[in-house]
């Protein structure tokens, strides 16, 4: 009898564990109160403000929630401000757009400011800014409403090939790729924003001199990503990530198949992919199921991507936003390994017992480190010629570390941080 009771309890515990492991987070829904007006006259007035803008024009947008049927373009002007009456008070909704894939499209400008408005539901990207020196977003909400889906647009804030970028006190919600995304840019500040319900909350890609601080990043698949991808115009370095609050980034990955962010395991606080000179300090990471900070090489993501594409569908079915590039070896200027990744004092907390297991990282952790949380996870792949790959400014007592040694089938996997001290 006692034996049967024991067996029953054992089974029950097993079931509970199984449930906890298999349970994935539901897809979140963003439903703000909206009452759109679709009025051709208002749309034409707004469009003509964009088209007729000259240097130093202030484009003042009226109060109200407007459905707009086409991309609003601003090109080749300096010192222009686009200004509404506040997030939610001035709303430009591009849900039914028939022309252009972006909401706002800004090109070849100097010192452009966008402030106090909401841009939502564009078919492609909500706000794209290209070839611009000086772009400031302040108090702007950029979102996709409803339940998150791969049909949502890719980027909420999308400055690319820009210099002097400031994104401050903004909100990014529901992007099927990255909420706040800065690509191939130089001198960037991403501060005091909120990013939620995106696949990637904040992403710095191939960018130089980037400060990411004071942001609240939660309920995304991955919180803050620092990526370097091959085949682009420049490679990233000198990135500082500090004073951010990164929590509950456990949303299941809803990226389009084949997009590189589709490889981000749900439950990731931060992920560094490739890149040189990244410094994390004074952040608080809480309850990101899989790991707080992951450090990986492009080589690993590339191999995982290859394995995850189903052979019977290849080569037809990969598709995507930023796809996994199998020609990375041919780019002589590209270094797939992370280098000089410095981790200072951070606050790590994880009340979840199990990582998410719908991804390779989670599965590895579940089997290698059951019932333990890993704060800093590293794939173990390194560039032999680099000064160092990663280092810690503090001792191992305040966090847990796991170096996977992927290349040797985890033979020399280690949790010992002593040999990775910054001094």
């Amino acid at each position: 009898m006692k034996k049967i009771m024991f067996l029953l309890i054992f089974l029950l515990v097993g079931l509970v564990i199984l449930f906890l492991v298999l349970k994935s987070e539901p897809f979140p829904t963003y439903s703000p109160e909206r009452n759109y007006t679709a009025d051709k006259g208002t749309e034409q007035t707004i469009l003509s403000q964009f088209l007729l803008a000259k240097d130093s024009t202030v484009i003042e947008l009226p109060k109200g929630q407007f459905s707009i049927s086409q991309a609003l373009p601003l090109d080749g002007v300096s010192h222009v401000t686009i200004k509404g009456h506040g997030m939610g008070a001035t709303v430009l909704n591009f849900a039914g757009q028939t022309k252009g894939a972006e909401g706002l499209r800004i090109t070849n400008g100097n010192n452009i400011t966008i402030q106090d408005l909401t841009v939502e539901n564009a078919k492609g990207d909500n706000i794209k800014v290209m070839d611009t020196n000086g772009i400031t977003f302040r108090n702007v909400e950029s979102s996709w409403t409803g339940k998150v889906s791969e049909d949502n647009g890719a980027y909420a804030f999308y400055p690319v090939l820009c210099r002097n970028v400031v994104i401050d006190q903004c909100k990014a919600i529901g992007s099927s790729d990255a909420g706040i995304y800065v690509g191939q840019s130089v001198d960037v500040v991403i501060s005091n924003n909120e990013a939620l319900y995106n696949v990637a909350g904040i992403e710095s890609e191939n960018s130089i001199n980037v400060k990411i601080f004071g942001n609240k990043v939660y309920e995304n698949t991955g919180g803050i990503l620092v990526f370097d991808l091959p085949g682009l115009t420049q490679y990233g370095k000198n990135i500082e990530v500090y004073n951010n609050t990164v929590y509950e980034n456990n949303t299941s990955n809803f990226a389009k198949a084949g997009a590189i962010v589709g490889q981000v395991p749900s439950g990731t606080g931060s992920l560094v992919l490739g890149t040189e000179d990244v410094y994390f300090h004074d952040n608080s990471f809480t309850d990101n199921k899989t790991t707080s900070i992951a450090i990986a090489s492009y080589e690993l993501i590339y191999e995982l991507g290859k394995r995850n594409s189903r052979p019977e569908e290849a080569p037809g079915v990969v598709g995507s936003v930023r796809t996994i590039n199998d020609e990375y070896n041919s780019d002589a200027n590209y270094n797939p390994y992370p280098r000089q990744i410095k981790i200072g004092e951070n606050r790590f907390e994880n009340s979840y017992l199990f990582p998410t297991i719908n991804n390779d990282f989670g599965k590895i952790l579940l089997f290698k480190k059951p019932f333990q949380t890993v704060d800093v996870l590293w794939d173990g792949l390194e560039d032999e010629d680099a000064d160092y790959t990663l280092c810690f400014e503090t001792g191992g007592e305040s966090f847990s570390f796991y170096g996977l040694d992927v290349i040797n089938d985890f033979k020399n996997a280690t949790s010992d941080v002593s040999e990775y001290n910054c001094n």
């Binding site: 003509s48 088209l51 090109d75 085949g231 389009k256 084949g258 037809g316 598709g319 199998d326």
Partner: protein, 371 residues
Amino acid sequence: MFRSIIVISTLALALLLGCQNQGNVAVANDYVSVSGLLTSQDTLVKYEDLGLKKLSDYGFFKQPISQLIPASEQVVPYTLNSPLFTDYATKSRFISFPEGSTAAYVSDEKVLDFPEGTVIIKNFYYTNADLKNNDTDVILETRLLLKKDGEWIALPYVWNEEQTEAYLYILGKDIDLVLEANDERVEPLNFSYSVPNINMCKNCHVKNQKLVPLGPTPRQLNRENQFISVSQNQLAFLSDNHFLVDLPPLSVVAKLPDYKDESEPLDGRARAYLDVNCAHCHQDGGSAKTSGLHLAYEESDLYRLGVNKPPVAAGKGSGYLAFDIVSGKPEASILLYRMKHLEPDIVMPEIGKNLVDTEGVALIESWIKSL
């Protein structure tokens, strides 16, 4: 007596029903093919600092301007070997040279170096044969490229319903059309033609952040045309009439294939098609420079042309396909997928296209099969 009663009551009815009545009358007359051209109800903002308000103000054409007959010998007509597809519209092109000035030859693939004050004029129209229930040609818009202070500016003019004038109209306009069935189309085709807004011109015409003309390159102009008195090669005509200098002997000037000419080799036709329809953005310095896809006629690197090249930031445009072009497999090629679609986040070219170019799709399909 009866007649005046009928006239008066019809007028009264028209007044009573107002705008709504206009629609009814149109249906009654079976005149449903064109709506959206400018009417007296369109409020036209004054854009004096951009360009002249009316097309007739420039004096390019004799009255009635809808005949598009040049007002002087300085306004020279031209055609291209391979023109851009624009929803089956026919185009009538002219270059207005300022008195006493000449353009210079640069190279076969580069646009002529035009003098200050040149205006390139492109009229978009549908012939009465194209349009259902219409007995005259209808000109929709006229686009101008003007060279002013060394820089080019683009100005769109939209024609009125009466076809007596075109007005500078910067907001873009949707014009509803019904195209008649023909050999390729079994059914009449309803669609909305889009006149671009003034900023959209830049999407295609910007190279290295500067606005430039695209069509009039020597290899595109190298063909016969009918001028007022003679039929002659266009480059020879320009040169003989002192509009063009530095032209090398015609025998050494390249000629872009006409992609509609089935006697030309498939590869040349397909590459010419991609050049005129895609390469304005898909080249170094063009709007699609971040895509890594290069479709200019002279591109020789297969990877840069898209063969086995993964897309960079195509989003939904990839159609879940892995490569821009898969040799021998048009159905697995993103390039063809995007040509066949019209949704704003998938369609290529990304603006100015509201109909699929069925013949163009067939051409590129056979070309990919042949790779």
